[in-house]
Amino acid sequence: MKDDAGVTREQRVEALGGMGCKRKRVEDARFTQGKGNYVDDIKMPGMLFGDFVRSPYAHARIKSIDTSAALALDGVVAVLTADDLRPLGLHWMPTLAGDKQMVLADGKVLFQGQEVAYVVAKDRYIAADAVELIDVDYEELPVIVDPFESMKSDTVLREDLVAEDGSLPDGAHGPRKHHNHIFTWEVGEKEATSQVIDSAQVVAEETMYYHRTHPCPLETCGCVASMDKVNGKLTLYGTFQAPHAIRTVVSLISGIEEHNIRVISPDIGGGFGNKVGAYPGYVCSVVASIVTGVPVKWVEDRMENLMTTAFARDYWMKGKISATPEGKITGLWCEVTADHGGFDACADPTKFPAGFMNICTGSYDIPTAYLAVDGVYTNKAPGGVSYRCSFRVTEAVYFIERMIEVLAIEMNMDAAELRRINFIKKEQFPYQSALGWEYDSGDYHTAWDKALKAVDYEGLRTEQAQRVEDFKTGKTRKLMGVGLSFFTEIVGAGPVKNCDILGLGMFDSCEIRIHPTGSAIARLGTISQGQGHATTFAQILASEIGLPADSITIEEGDTDTAPYGLGTYGSRSTPVAGAATAMAGRKIRAKAQMIAAYLLEVHDDDVEFDVDRFVVKGAPEKFKTMKEIAFAAYNQAIPGIEPGLEAVSYYDPPNMTYPFGAYICVMDIDVDTGEVDIRRFYALDDCGTRINPMIIEGQVHGGLTEALAVALGQEIAYDDMGNVKTGTLMDFFLPTAWEVPNYETDHTVTPSPHHPIGAKGVGESPHVGGVPCFSNAVNDAFRAFGLRHTHMPHDHWRIWKTANKLGLHG
């Protein structure tokens, strides 16, 4: 059908650039020309630079700090120590996990690299010189880097958490068992699970360490604090994944009224969870700007980033899984010892001290389960953020996907088949899991079958069996691993009824203003760190309000202009802010409908929305385009309708979303060098409704590469003295183009039933599903030689050791 302009409906749809199309990114013009505006690009008149004196020791008492030589250096403006911050009550700050953390060392240090003093100088070179001139007298204390030892040790790491009479006051998450213990978090039925497992005919047990690593975005953390003493306003630019939450936190701890604080997240060079928390550098920069009255910039270097800001993982997970002789899983037991470092600075919703670890029943219909997590202090850096995942989901999925493999070995079954017979069935959704979640939608069997067929799974197993034979007869020194993983994520935190951070409900928001000439600006409470929000949120709106995506500006990250939101992490932007965007768009449409009806001189109910216009029902030749309606909203006095066309929506999601996927990795492993060659990686993702397939594919490539890194070598390692052994990119593995394979992407579409556009979020799925897939491939390569489980990271050296232990080196 053609309208009067000779344009077909399909052409009108295409002209919008709405949901489902591979819209090119609007961000790219500035980024490809070097015109991004990252925090270190910000320059302000008179701006000073901050730099830290950091502890070389992992555990030490501070006897004295002599700053005199530094202060005497030309160009040094100030040096702050805990003594300077104490009168302001800022020598400690609250963490996101209900603990508190030293801003500057208050009498002792608890991890290597801890902030001891903050130098403010005219440029970064002078600041660095001054750092060298500060003399700190340390008295070394016993160092604990092992959480199990910590729970037995007489050494008290946190004297501030022990009462004078020696008793242990409750922590933020209840009673504590030991002076180095933080919390115990239990979910599920302990007795019932214990009974099921004890009486089961088949039980598999395994303990696995999910090593400590780091999100390591290419841009480190930093900020510029600018206190304008004339008008009393503080402007804080920074690498913040949650700018509004930072504003509230800054207000609460500084006493500056929130309306006098403007937080701006400029372009962010990757976050992956590293930029969720609040760091001492932010607090010190704010204080320094208040003290000096001029802007102060602080940008950490890579070593500071890796050593001190927000690690991820560090979970010891002990599992038991029981099944019938046919392979139907009957129970799951998971005990976690979580190493949180010197302060509990985990970034999790308040009621979830171990995040969503209780998604660890995975994609399987497991009737009975129990999870217990113990958080423990050690002399390591604080953090515990969700590195490209939603609050410990990566740990949970790794756990269950390894346990399934171990069970398959125990039962001498094919791991793909074992998964299939335990998947939650399509008709069971919405599915109530044994550990308390309601999975919204899924079709796991379809996805699994599609994936297995795509890679010719049986053919792979035949080839693998032949390879084992060839290896045994000396024809090859390479083994073949087939890694399987089927993951269910839990993202889009979350419903305000059970999800908050520091008491702030985890809703999100969108505000839309339609301009008279039919273009628009929409502002959100989220902030892109590479996800392409300016591109995709405009696509959602284009489809919802019928104006071209190219005519819609998306703005985020400025708390003075954007509506309040909880930011971007945990794949929550599309599930929460994306929903707010659609809902705000629908409010615009509702008003537009009334305006259209007035203009067309019919009743409101007699017009309907069609792509980019409202048409009179049954008379499509009578219509008003959204562009015409926008203009009318500003130039006509319409009875009963306010002028203008704006809307705002605060969206409190009724549930999380549960993206899922099926990944298969095929690798060859050189038994003599430990090198791996990833021959093939197939990734099927179901993220519900797909907003922009190009961006989804890019997210999958990136997430898989971060998964490859974590599984195959990336770690934050400590020696017994608490020294960080992986503090530079020389030691901390970030894959290059040379190590990374080409990925095959695929999809199924199972929309979320409760999300306004059915979208579930995708950015973190490939990381969550990818880590166990790579790890399973390595383990699988050695299955024929008796390997049950070997810990990550599977770097060449560790793989060689595994082969050696199995006697494969002759």
């Binding site: 980024f31 991004g36 070179y125 290419l218 590479g530 990119l729």
Partner: protein, 164 residues
Amino acid sequence: MSKKMHIQLTVNGEAQEFLAEPRELLIHTLRERLNITGPHIGCETSHCGACTVTLNGKSVKSCTVFVAQADGAEITTIEGLGNPDKLHVLQEAFKEHHGLQCGFCTPGMITRASKLLEENPSPTEEEVRFGMAGNICRCTGYQNIVKSILAAAAEMSASKEAAE
């Protein structure tokens, strides 16, 4: 603080002359002194390549070059490769093939790729992957970066043939 040196550079075709401490790093000269903020700082140890510039015809990590070492040099940064009216073929290709996400590595990545394609106008995928291994990207997994560079190479070869 050591004695300042008289430094002359040509950056993106423009002559620059100033006094600087010899220990000043070239990346800081570009970013702080000359306000050329396309090249970024990612690691300070020559590993990530976010600071890549072309210095006297070679790809160089400007975070580990003292400005004193660069005295007299000719330097090209991302800002010298194209302009809003006429983007470099690589800039277009990265946009077209989704060769970037957060954008932080992109200036170094494109600057390096431009040099790679000068050295080898028709690289294989393997040669691109090897030739770009000094530049780290945390977002894209490289697949679309490689695709962008191969597409740009094809485009540049095609227009060269057309011109001949």
